[in-house]
């Protein structure tokens, strides 16, 4: 091989938590050593990316050019990858994730993979492509071009107009039109004004904000600077969970680089616009995702919401007009400016424009982050993108919107996702959690799980949420413990509907959703629990009962295993479970080699 034939490569190794758990950190070392050994370090660049959203296939390694994606890579594969692919130019088929082809505008390199097929990446457009710790990488993908454009060509009023025209709506949950928020803040009297990025992502299972910041922090920063310019603010805050150390680190680095490049600070890019951003850490309170609670937290207080109006756009941080958007919303801003509101609003549905990122989890084959145009159906996400239900089980429901959302049964699978349709179906968009539930899950138990979360995260300020969620949880607990009473479902509905309409903030107003939607769609499961003391999914331990069938040969294994001596019987004679003593630990069920324990 001639020297000038040597090709340049860029490797991207996923550094997301799921991949990390599968040792992708070690891989970094192994790859470096291997490259050193072969003297290739100078022409292969290794980049760590934020979560690439293919958590179940990790560790993920991407080789560019060519955008070959390897999954399940172990350290033993490295020498082969270097030898065969980087030196000989032949990708290794057995490691490749290679499914059907679809092309998309932003993610042409990602377009080769089925997982990305129906996706369209705006928020996550650079994630996994650029090195998030290098501003030059961001600049190479038109980074800070949108900022340059507004500073030189577009008046603040026109920026607001453009955002309004784009139809972008808040990606944090409620879907309030972003442009109107900007306009209200711009028009509010009072100085100084503030811009806040809400990165207090707290829904269990949702991690799109973390991935966006870890993978492409500059986009968020650029969005915020544009927001500051448009509204007349000169100071921004990113409120981010302390539990996200990598995101914080990358954000800090990005802010530093943006400053040295003159994108932040005094007289940005030589204009007379000055803007600065500071990071403020959360400290473990889900309710701080609510904008007024978040503001109080930035002010150094307990993160308790307050009644609105006044809205933050009029009186927010330190009593001044404040523009709050979440990470995903901010990340859309530079794209809208660069490609125009007309293009942006051509994506999506009548009322909801652009794309939305979902964290798909639960009982599907592919779990991870997906970004799809609004209007994609639930079925497309679950079956086409996430590969359908794992282990050939039967689909039962999909839970969207996390603890604030609802559970939708099969008949809603063809719902085109947008803010209105989900809410009409009895759920919400929320921040984008999507948990797929199969027949093995008990709907009562699932709603109890979500309510446990909100009850624990209630700030305690308003009565309906503080006392009401507690009582609902007590009722759900007694139902799953087999102590449900006639009338409990009605009590849940009565409390739930009241809490929804009477609570002070969004947390309380949405807390009953998981319960109310499961009662609406799976009422018979509740009734079975209460009337028949039966859990069809065998998930509520207290409702299970263990009996020994005729398959028992009297081997005594279960009798010995039972921690409370609830099983009696002579050798070689069928044993019996004393149900009054049984603590339902399931040891007998697990230990029996003859399938003689019946659990239902």
């Amino acid at each position: 091989m001639k020297k000038d034939d040597k090709r340049q490569y860029a490797l991207i190794l996923c550094d997301g938590p799921a991949c990390l758990r599968k040792k992708s950190k070690n891989l970094e070392e192994v790859i470096k050593q291997e490259l050193d050994k072969r003297g290739m370090a100078d022409r292969v660049r290794l980049t760590l990316s934020g979560c690439l959203g293919m958590c179940d296939k990790g560790p993920i390694l991407i080789v560019n050019p060519g955008y070959v994606i390897y999954g399940g890579v172990t350290e033993h594969d490295i020498p082969a990858i270097v030898e065969q692919h980087l030196i000989n130019g032949e990708p290794i088929a057995r490691l490749e994730i290679n499914e059907d082809h679809l092309f998309n505008r932003f993610f042409r390199v990602f377009g080769d993979v089925g997982f990305f097929g129906k996706q369209m990446r705006i928020t996550l457009r650079n994630c996994g492509i650029i090195d998030p710790e290098k501003i030059d990488d961001y600049l190479s993908v038109r980074g800070y071009e949108a900022l340059a454009k507004v500073l030189t060509d577009i008046s603040p009023e026109d920026v607001v107009k453009e955002i309004k025209k784009s139809g972008l709506r808040g990606r944090g949950g409620a879907g309030y039109p972003t442009g109107i928020k900007w306009e209200l803040t711009r028009k509010s009297e009072g100085s100084p004004k503030y811009v806040i990025c809400n990165a207090d992502e707290g829904d269990p299972g949702a991690f799109m904000d973390r991935s966006a910041i870890e993978g492409d922090p500059h986009t968020v920063i650029e969005g915020m600077i544009i927001g500051g310019y448009a509204t007349g603010a000169d100071k921004g805050f990113v409120y981010i969970r302390a539990e996200y150390p990598l995101a914080i680190k990358r954000l800090e680095k990005a802010l530093g680089e943006a400053k040295t490049h003159g994108f932040l600070g005094k007289n940005i890019m030589g204009s007379d616009f000055s803007f600065d951003i500071e990071i403020k850490l959360g400290a473990g309170a889900f309710v701080c995702g609510e904008e007024t609670a978040l503001i109080h937290s930035i002010e150094g207080s307990r993160g308790m919401p307050r009644p609105r109006p006044p809205f933050p756009s009029v009186s927010g941080l330190f009593g001044k007009p404040t523009l709050i958007n979440n990470v995903e919303t901010w990340a859309n801003i530079p794209v809208i400016i660069l490609d125009g509101a007309d293009w942006f609003s051509s994506i999506g549905t009548e009322t909801s424009k652009g794309t939305k990122v979902f964290a798909v989890a639960g009982k599907v084959k592919n779990t991870g982050l997906v970004e799809v145009p609004m209007g994609t159906t639930l079925r497309e996400i679950i079956y086409d993108i996430a590969g359908g239900i794992a282990d050939d089980k039967k689909f039962k429901a999909v839970q969207t919107g996390g603890p604030s959302g609802g559970c939708l049964p099969e008949e809603y699978l063809d719902t085109k996702i947008d803010y209105e349709s989900l809410s009409k179906a009895g759920s919400i968009m929320g921040s984008g959690g999507m948990i797929v539930i199969d027949e093995d899950s008990c709907m009562v138990n699932i709603s109890k799980f979500f309510l446990e979360f909100t009850e624990n995260e209630s700030c305690g300020k308003c009565t309906p949420c503080r006392e009401g969620t507690k009582r609902m949880l007590e009722i759900l607990t007694r139902i799953t413990d087999g102590k449900g009473e006639e009338g409990d479902i009605e009590k849940l509905e009565r409390l739930g509907n009241m809490i929804k309409k009477a609570s002070l903030c969004g947390l309380g107003q949405s807390a009953p959703n998981p319960v109310l939607s499961t009662i609406k769609n799976f009422r018979e499961e509740y009734e079975e629990h209460i009337k028949e003391k039966k859990c069809r999914a065998s998930a509520c331990i207290a409702l299970l009962s263990y009996t020994i069938t005729d398959k028992c040969i009297g081997c005594m294994a279960c009798r010995r295993a039972c921690p409370v001596n609830a099983i009696s019987g002579e050798p070689k004679v069928k044993h019996v479970v004393d149900k009054t003593r049984c603590v339902k630990c399931g040891l007998c069920f697990n230990i029996c080699k003859f399938d003689a324990i019946d659990r239902r």
Partner: protein
């Protein structure tokens, strides 16, 4: 080297001083509490008193904030977290005796940490190890089929190991 108390105080003070020129100085309370916890491991009363004085914030407010956010520890967390399972199976097999033995051996109550910050005692719901009942978990390791004597032995082993480790460290530093 282990920081002395004065050093720790000075470090926190320097950190606080870094915010003095900022607008809305008091709004940096949560950042300061993060730092205090980083330095001391948890939020001690006298440290919060110091912060109150330095930042001119009422102690009741600091306490309100410290107790609101779950990230903040108000009690020291020991090197070893002992979780005694009080699930039904463990309970009928005498988990309470194990619990009492631990309390007696360490001289602490539920939720407390030993003065040497080695052990924190907690109870837990069923660990799903009913077959080994009664069980206790120390950090991530499950110890099963316990008796009071066995539990005390285990604790002593942990303590011995920790002391050996500390001695090793001390030696290295010399």
């Amino acid at each position: 080297m282990e920081q002395t108390l004065d050093n720790k105080q000075a470090e926190l003070k320097t950190f606080i001083d870094g915010f003095r020129d900022k607008e809305h100085f008091e709004s940096y309370l949560i950042a300061v509490l993060h730092k205090a916890q980083e330095i001391h491991g948890y939020l001690k009363k006298d440290v919060m008193d110091d912060i109150a004085r330095e930042m001119n914030i009422p102690t009741s407010h600091i306490w309100g904030v410290a107790t609101f956010y779950h990230y903040f520890n108000l009690k020291p967390i020991g090197k070893y977290k002992i979780s005694i399972c009080l699930g039904t199976a463990c309970y009928v097999k005498g988990a309470e005796r194990i619990l009492n033995a631990v309390k007696k051996e360490l001289g602490i109550e539920m939720g407390d940490t030993t003065p040497d910050e080695l052990f924190t005692l907690q109870i837990t719901r069923c660990l799903g190890a009913c077959g080994l009942a009664p069980v206790a978990m120390i950090n991530d390791k499950i110890h099963g089929e316990l008796t009071a004597e066995k539990m005390v032995d285990i604790l002593r082993k942990y303590r011995k190991a920790a002391m050996a480790e500390a001695a090793e460290k001390a030696k290295e530093q010399q």
